[in-house]
Symmetry: C2
Subunit: 192 residues, 2 copies
Amino acid sequence: MGRWEPDARGRLAKAALELYGERGYEQTTVAEIARRAGLTERTFFRHYADKREVLFGGPPPSLQDLFVRAIVEAPPATTPIDALALGLDAASEMFVDRRDFARKRQAVITANAELQERELIKLASMSAALADALRARGVPEPAASLTAEAGVAVFKVGFERWVAPGEQREMAPLMRESLDALKAVTAGGQAP
Amino acid sequence: MGRWEPDARGRLAKAALELYGERGYEQTTVAEIARRAGLTERTFFRHYADKREVLFGGPPPSLQDLFVRAIVEAPPATTPIDALALGLDAASEMFVDRRDFARKRQAVITANAELQERELIKLASMSAALADALRARGVPEPAASLTAEAGVAVFKVGFERWVAPGEQREMAPLMRESLDALKAVTAGGQAP
């Protein structure tokens, strides 16, 4: 191990996002990211496996871990949809004060088909983990899978609203609002 | 154009699925598929761009087209969720008598990460198209995107049930049942 670099991980992430934004994700090398951050490539690889992991590998606990844990730890009598709401709250907490980073990250991902695929895989994996957690609570199929898919749908739509230009509300209320909108729609609301 | 081959497209699809199942998707070549079907490579390429398109490129109209069209053509007063139900019905129609093919296709896709990604992209694209169709009907955001995501979630879960071993019910009632299960869950049902 080399000497300790204060917040090397955060500096690398910041440098990477700047460069992805300036020159494009494909055109940026790990060497350039390390140089911009004032660190060595070796330090980069102590924190991230590759340049894609800067976008997808946050420090633990992951979004999925937080989401799942909230569902696992919900009081026994909690309905599936209320357990989901607790999961969305927990997921939202990790994004507090991270909107600027999230917006830059989103712009990089939107510009690159391979990264969009990676994002879809991440969400599919989250859905499978949520369904597992719900089944472990005794929720039968297909309710468990449908609740999990609904959770990912609400997260996706709520996240898009949260990173939208000009949006200033925090993530948690936007997630709750999206969940309420889904409830209203499935109850037959929003007639034209 | 070469001479007309009776049901060349169907014979190629059948041969491809057999070979993907026997040797694996990666190990199968277009030449082998054509040979097994008793046709030429040239005939293969008149029907499919590559061996992946056998799994993803059905003849028009596509699943997405049928799903979207049903939503576009739903009577004006139809609620978003009822328009979605009409879309699921229309989507189900194209799978009548295709369960054997769908099961073999599913087994190939499940065994291959790249094909699973392609499937996720196809579903994400379908969700975007459904949201467009709902917005065109005057459904506001975030209701349009959430209804679209819910539609894809129900389709995904309903489809998995339909191809499950031993399942004999038709797709349309399984989709309706999945949609009803989603409605029940979002209404606070399925308490443990």
